[in-house]
């Protein structure tokens, strides 16, 4: 704020008017800038059609999502034509209970199958109809008739947890959900946790306590136990692990490959190493091109040549980062201390030796720390690129999201991604700190 003008003596009035002018501009800035930002946000509010969005939003989807992340549902489904009842976790074939077995909250008494839901709710399947006891409301009875569903409700006005149409009756309470259509009657029963996370129902180890499992493992079954867990069809742990490895691999190959490509080019683009303007400009334009053509475009172009997969992703990262590294490296090289090179030169070193002993030791810590920083952030980018090019955890994530039913798997993937990214962050942080403080001279 101190604008020293040691020139001609200024009159007090002059100073005063100048100070006032400065305050005016400052005030204008401090009010004008927020006003401008606000105006822009208002424009964006309408450009993004936020009012329309609020209309179109489906909060119930959000509720499903949140509920799925910490709970699972078991479907009890009756085919109304054959009368056959199946029990399946998440309604998936892979989670089906084997023939003749059922969860312990179901009881079968002759023709009548009773499904006990929490909070005193109960659904009974009779051969020709279904009854649902809702405490505090009464019993709903429904049967499939001709082309639709015929249901009888307790007297009184229709409560809003029932949605009844001619061919479909749906009762959604906080204890579960019952859907009756002409062809099938379905009950969803929710429970906490991620069911079948370790073992599917067909595995002999399902439902075993950790202690019992451990004793089995020590008595020579560790291989089978691991196998059943690793090839769990519901959660596909081995595929997920591979996808994570692919994602990290994309980031690793891309980042370090880019560093290897960019280093020699950076020498060519640095003012103090390449006196030739043409070469320097050429290299810089190559860097600009690599960076300017974004990873998105590189991914699309490369996917055409190499097909989907981790290689395409890593090449896309490699190309984009060659541009970024080239620019950053050449800037670092331009700031190199000439004295050390001079010293090495005085011992009669040749050009290559001067670079090796005079330049590389100076810049290694800086460059490596930049590379490590990029490695960490590229782990995240690799997830996104994977979703486009079809490789790694990004692909699994988008697939699970597009089917819009396996939200617990989506949660599982998200947790894994976040853990991996944080691990990379932590690792590269440690390495960077070690590079900057102490041990800085350790290069290869």
């Amino acid at each position: 704020m101190t604008m020293l003008s040691a020139s001609a003596p200024l009159s007090a009035d002059d100073l005063k008017s100048r100070a006032e002018g400065m305050f005016r501009t400052k005030r204008l800035w401090s009010f004008g800038l927020p006003a401008l930002v606000l105006a822009y946000l208002v424009y964006a509010f309408f450009a993004f059609d936020v009012p329309g969005l609020i209309d179109r939003a489906r909060p119930e989807n959000g509720a499903i999502l949140v509920r799925d992340t910490y709970s699972y549902k078991t479907h009890v489904e009756r085919d109304n034509r054959t009368g056959e009842i199946t029990f399946a976790i998440e309604g998936e074939r892979k989670g089906e209970y084997p023939e003749g077995t059922y969860p312990d909250w179901v009881s079968v008494d002759g023709d009548v199958t009773t499904v006990t839901l929490p909070k005193g709710h109960e659904v009974r399947y009779y051969p020709d109809h279904v009854e649902y006891d809702v405490p505090g409301y009464g019993t709903i009875s429904a049967k499939s008739e001709g082309r639709g569903v015929e249901a009888t409700y307790p007297d009184g006005p229709m409560p809003d947890f029932i949605s009844a149409a001619r061919n479909r009756v749906m009762v959604t309470t906080d204890a579960g959900r019952v859907t009756i259509t002409r062809n099938r009657t379905e009950v969803f029963r929710y429970a906490m946790g991620w069911e079948l996370f370790f073992f599917t129902l067909d595995s002999p180890y399902h439902g075993m306590a950790p202690g019992a499992l451990l004793s089995r493992a020590t008595s020579g079954e560790a291989g089978e136990i691991w196998d059943d867990f690793w090839h769990n069809e519901m959660w596909r742990h081995s595929d997920v692990a591979w996808a994570i490895v692919e994602t990290v691999l994309m980031a690793f190959l891309g980042t370090f490959g880019a560093a290897i490509v960019a280093l020699p080019l950076a020498f060519l683009a640095a003012r103090n190493f390449t006196p030739l303007v043409v070469v320097r400009q050429l290299c810089r334009r190559i860097f600009d091109l690599c960076r300017g053509v974004d990873a998105l475009i590189w991914t699309i172009v490369l996917a055409r040549a190499f097909g989907p997969g981790p290689l395409t992703g890593s090449l896309a990262i490699l190309l984009t980062d060659t541009g970024s590294f080239g620019k950053m490296f050449s800037e670092a090289l331009e700031n190199v201390d000439e004295k050390q090179i001079e010293g090495v030169r005085s011992t009669g070193a040749r050009a290559v030796q001067r670079y090796r002993f005079g330049v590389i030791p100076q810049v290694t810590p800086v460059l490596l720390s930049q590379v490590l920083y990029f490695f960490e952030s590229n782990t995240r980018s690799a997830t996104v690129i994977g979703a486009i090019t079809g490789g790694g955890i990004g692909l699994m994530l988008t697939q699970a999201m597009i089917t819009q039913k396996d939200w617990e798997e989506v949660t599982y993937y998200i947790i894994l991604i976040v853990l991996v990214v944080m691990l990379m962050d932590w690792l590269s942080g440690i390495l960077r700190r070690r590079l900057i403080s102490g041990g800085g001279e350790g290069g290869h």
Partner: protein, 296 residues
């Protein structure tokens, strides 16, 4: 490095120093060689694995690498007359992409600024909560944008807002960390001075800290804006509107629409390069340029 005060056996001491120096160098070289070998093995192994798991191989694909750009360029070349029309057609989508990035950067910078002040020692409103805010920023940074975008698209439906929120969320974490690093170097004297006259926390931060750190904050925010434009284009590709979405559609049509794909490529390229150049010029001025601009 070694203790050289012992003068008597001078010759043997230098020999000793020399020996230990050579041994040290040798050890260092061996470490270096081992590290290098591990690194080369990892790169080679990684490349082979990636190559195996890719749909098309590296060597088979290498000579086709220019096929697609050539196809796009030749088709765009044939319909060169339609280029201005195409560019104009996709301009609104481009503006949407830029808007997403801009709003996300503004919101993210605001959130990041607040979080950074809450998590800097000496400035924090609740010093005990510093670790909490830090961990929160770590998590915000760790979640890839695409995850949040896809979840929000499921809940809110497609469009620019999910992408904007997703990018803003990430930006809060990223800028928060950078901002708090800037804050650590800020002098706390103005803050103390303001505190002594009874200023509230908001006043202390706005009048005592912000003027000191604003240039560096702005420079980081500009850098983030560049990154966010790329992110917003990519998120469009997975369904969040903007130019990425148009690009996906043009690509899905394939041959016959390549002139449009070329126009989109061109728009995106120009935008990224322009923002990059303008941004770096501005940042340069902010960090070491004319000092009178700092008052802004």
């Amino acid at each position: 490095m070694a203790d050289q005060t012992a003068a008597p056996a001078y010759g043997s001491a230098t020999a000793h120093i020399r020996e230990s120096y050579i041994a040290q160098t040798r050890r260092k070289r061996i470490y270096g060689a081992v590290l290098l070998a591990i690194f080369v093995a990892l790169m080679a192994g990684g490349f082979i694995t990636a190559d195996e798991r890719n749909a098309g191989g590296f060597w088979e694909g290498l000579h086709q690498i220019f096929d697609f750009p050539a196809a796009v360029l030749s088709e765009a070349g044939e319909k060169i007359g339609r280029l201005p029309e195409n560019l104009l057609e996709y301009l609104p989508a481009l503006i949407e992409t830029i808007n997403i990035a801009a709003v996300a950067t503004l919101v993210g910078a605001f959130g990041g600024a607040v979080l950074s002040m809450l998590s800097t020692r000496g400035m924090a409103l609740w010093p005990r909560l510093i670790p909490l805010w830090r961990r929160m920023m770590d998590i915000m940074r760790a979640i890839p944008e695409i995850v949040i975008a896809l979840i929000l698209i499921f809940v809110l439906g497609g469009g620019p807002v999910p992408a904007m929120i997703a990018i803003a969320f990430h930006t809060v974490g990223a800028l928060g960390k950078l901002f708090s690093e800037v804050n650590e170097n800020a002098s706390l004297k103005p803050v103390d001075g303001l505190a002594s006259v009874g200023a509230t926390w908001t006043q202390r931060m706005l009048l005592g800290v912000v003027p000191q750190v604003a240039p560096n904050w702005l420079s980081y925010a500009l850098l983030r804006f560049e990154i966010n434009i790329r992110a917003s284009a990519i998120l469009g590709f997975v369904g969040a509107g903007g130019i990425g979405y148009e690009l996906k559609n043009a690509m899905a049509w394939g041959v016959g629409r390549y002139d449009q794909a070329a126009a989109i490529f061109l728009l995106l390229f120009i935008t990224i390069v322009a923002v990059d150049q303008i941004g770096s010029a501005l940042r340069d001025r902010l960090t070491h340029g004319s000092r009178k601009d700092l008052l802004a």
